[in-house]
Assembly symmetry: D2
Homo-oligomer: 339 residues x 4
């Protein structure tokens, strides 16, 4: 009889799912017991050849929460926005712990959710009561939680470097501009013209200007950190690489600051965090590829404050944070399977 | 009144179509007058932003050959295999010259076509009477033709370097192995999982091993050149780049040969060809990118004969050859718009 | 006897040189007559295999201006910063027209040059009297010039979209942030660790934060356009692609503006420019790759003004602009060899 | 006091070194205690930013074997060919176990070494007595060895799939052609024009045709496996990706064989190997990226036998095999730190 934590992946055909499974295969206290898909019956390794010889499962149909709860203590929810909140309440009732990769539980205000996602939340009363799964900023609320809203990939690269500066009152909350660059895996695995190799390769472009759904998520965290309602100017760019996000932010300091002060503030804030590297040299996405680290640098240029932060969008930006959250709620050392 | 040759592109939403249009925009004696699509009404520049400010057309529905013939002297057929031969007979009757990009008229034997393409030819009686549009090998038959079968991209990189050697009896026809590497644009512009950026990037793989439809086309030309029925071992590989094909062939010489002999043979054969470069150094696809050139080198290694040839699959491999064929049948200098 | 304009390329081993040569090969009124290098004697095609069969020259040593002037009416100066201004005065005295690709003549103020380039100008008295070769903004001063300072690649993507807005007084000159992303060819062709394929590929990073030498060039043009001394916050990013620059700028409007007003202003300003496309959809570098076009879009997001502009850094950003400038000073139609 | 195995990396500035360190950081029984370089004094993380916050070492100069032996039980030799065999005898005398990444001990015959590497071996008497570190074929000789010659990356992809077929007498040893495609990291980290991003990107080319130094290494293993002196036709191609090798081989069967027979033979041969996946679908380098696996498929096409094998050139092709060899000689479970 296994005493390992049993994990099921709900909607396991995409890039974050295969990444999560690869991390969990290195986890000494965890066993992946089920993977679901709308096309059940296929072998997991047929859909994800990278798992060949490593995990021998067949995709199942998701039927009832009770059935899945028989197989799993923890569920990684990799369903699309909207679908997620339709399923998760049942899983919680059935006793599962859930790490939700979708945006369905990230926003505290149902009205904000409805405005940015174009439809009402399927579980509005829970909004505002689910911890935002960024342990570096919200660890206490994650401990012991039954449901965690795994954070968006872009928001982490904006809020992690800015949170200490906002908390310390060093920058104007109203002045923040975030210019972000992401690899193509962030767009998911559904075949779309825009994500074809010959469309993306040798090209960079902005997209979702003024309309990207990570905007209210960034607003929300920055508002909490700065203690005042904050609206970010956020521009994502599609970059010809598989994985990685690099975000450069620009803000106005509240008073004249030196680069040294910024570094001192941010290093002090994150001094005990195992996955945050405050670095002197400028970070690159390659430095953190395939890791759960966030590397960040700080600059003062012509009186403006700049932060430059890099993560792997599939690891720290999704599956790594999910494992980190699972470690916290299950009481495992937080870095297990992540170093 | 315009005295320019009017060209219509049938099925103009893909990569070869936009490439052809860009070449034709530089052609002093040609005007692109119509583009068709199954989704008429969209602006050409919406589908192909690279044409912004360069060609102001709206996609039309293809209705009757007569209607198109009113607008076009020459039709570039960019329809899929099968669809092409359903439409082209009508266009020929209506008086159009046609350069067909599909495989529908490349094979001389209807039985071979049916075996490799899985269905009968829609125009079987014409097979065997349509010139194969590789001017370097079949120019005389192209002159004055009303219909030309534009050659496949892979076959050119196999048959161009091998034709002189086969004609000279220097290599054994039965011994030919062709290992080809192509950029992703060769797979077309239809959204498919396998062509997504995160699937193709940072990966190389063989595909269509033993089953690729360019195989009988290569067989046919090699058989003509060598004067004996020939079957090639042909393996295409999907390579993480937009465009370009590099093919390395291996064959057994009929007698001991030197590298110098091979070079002499091939250089003599192509001495008047404007688009063939027989080079000493090893070619790379980048050397011919965005050009109509085929660069080829020859080697003798441990008694085997090797050829290495590179083309741009979208230019020499498709649209450039099409313009070259059009120049021949319209009597323009063959290199017009191609240098 | 040839009556074509004879062009020599000084320092012709890099990426801008080969790009310029390819453009000039399509120019009906021009002949490339000489290429120089510090390693004379090598064939041009050995260094640039893409020119195989297209231009048969051998690299020469640059000896005296008179010697080069015997062969060339126009010199494209592709020497490094510093070296350029040591050579160009002699060439001007010898009667050559010069398009200088370096930064040596771009800045009007010798003190600013010395501060950003770390050494005094070799030709300080000419600074301030050489036209900045961005025809869309400074055409009248280029007409009839003997020397033109070809503009930097990054600056074009900042100043082209912002110039009309500054001239119209629609944005605050002090508020401008420019976040730029460039392909690796912009870093030149000298072997350096940072430019190796495995260092750049699958990675994006900021570099030269607060110190990039295109900063004062941008300042200078924005100051002229806005009529007030302006300092930009400019951040370049190294992007895993060969070519292309996409720059997103953020600025504060001087009054509430609509996106429609911005478009009207910019479209009116550039209505007669053959190489500027003011587009509704967001531009991508791929849309302008291998062309002399600059595609730009405008947005208002949460009260801020944004511009997004794309060029090919090797064409519009360097060699295409050089040909455009040459066309102007020689009286050829400005678009010759560029469409 | 630590009872962990102490590992030093000799020549730790390149890609295989950083890869080895990352694997070793996951190894529960190992500690990396020293890294050497010709430029001592720099921080390890400055040269390899991916190790930031993970290993705090400073590069040392290599002085004497005794000094290094004080710090290390096992040495990973990442020196260039030639340099390696100058240093290793001393380290062996000082009691270190050595895994040599160079080619200095791979070939059994000093004359063959001298012919292909252009200079005499520095340690010729040891040649022929050092186990070739491919555990899947030579495990018994590795157990208990003090020095292991870590195998070349390309050879593994040729000999692993062919060894069972040769041993079973199913293919003609004289007929083997190996067409290999490698990512750029295989070319090392020294700045060279050919490895610059804009040279490699969007291009594939053959190199080292008939002259690549992995050829005699392949010959040697194939000769041992087939029991007869064998010469391979081996052609490497430089592919625009960071990592990965895919090799397609072609050979003539000794009698008519079916694909099923080939699979049965190879699956039986590798049935207990943890890192060999004999797969039905065609492998891609991405399926094995960042792993120690070799995935291989088998085909019969028009009477020829084909094998297609993929590895990560930096892991199974170098550092992963090194860890695997270390595990064997130190008595750790062979897969430790490799799954």
């Amino acid at each position: 009889m296994s005493t390992k934590t049993r994990v099921a992946i709900l909607g396991a055909t995409g890039y974050t799912a295969v990444e999560a499974i690869q991390l969990l295969l290195r986890h000494p206290h965890v066993e992946v017991t089920a993977v679901t898909s709308r096309e059940p019956g296929r072998r997991l390794t047929q859909v994800h050849p990278a798992l060949t010889g490593r995990l021998d499962l067949v995709f199942e149909e998701y039927t009832t929460p009770e059935k899945l709860a028989e197989k799993a203590d923890v569920v990684f929810g990799c369903l699309p926005h909207g679908a997620s909140a339709s399923v998760i309440p049942g899983l919680l009732n059935a006793g599962c712990k859930v790490i939700d990769f979708s945006a369905d539980y990230r926003l505290n205000d149902p009205a904000v959710f409805a405005r940015w996602y174009g439809s009402e939340s399927h579980d509005p009363t829970r909004l505002g009561h689910v911890p935002y799964g960024l342990p570096e900023l919200f660890r206490p609320s994650i401990v012991g939680a039954q449901l965690v809203a795994n954070p968006g990939c872009y928001p982490q690269t904006v809020v992690l470097p800015l949170a200490p500066l906002l908390k310390a009152g060093l920058i104007e909350p109203t002045s923040i501009i975030a210019d972000a660059k992401s690899g193509v895996s962030g767009a998911g695995r559904n075949p779309k013209l825009n994500n074809l190799y010959p469309e993306c390769n040798e090209s960079i472009s902005a997209y979702g200007v003024g309309t990207h759904r990570h905007t209210p998520e960034i607003d929300q965290v920055l508002s909490i950190m700065g203690g005042t309602a904050t609206e970010v100017i956020f521009t994502p760019h599609l970059t010809p690489m598989d994985r990685g996000i690099l975000t450069t932010t620009y803000s106005v300091p509240t008073r004249q600051v030196t680069q040294a002060e910024l570094y001192e503030c941010v290093r002090e804030f994150y001094k005990n965090e195992p996955f945050i590297h405050v670095v002197d040299d400028l970070p690159a996405t390659k430095h953190v590829a395939h890791t759960n680290f966030c590397n960040m640098a700080l600059r003062v240029v012509r009186g403006r404050v700049m932060t430059i932060a890099a993560i792997d969008n599939l690891i720290k930006g999704a599956s790594g944070s999910a494992v980190q959250n699972m470690n916290i709620i299950r009481g495992f050392p937080e870095t297990t399977a992540l170093l």
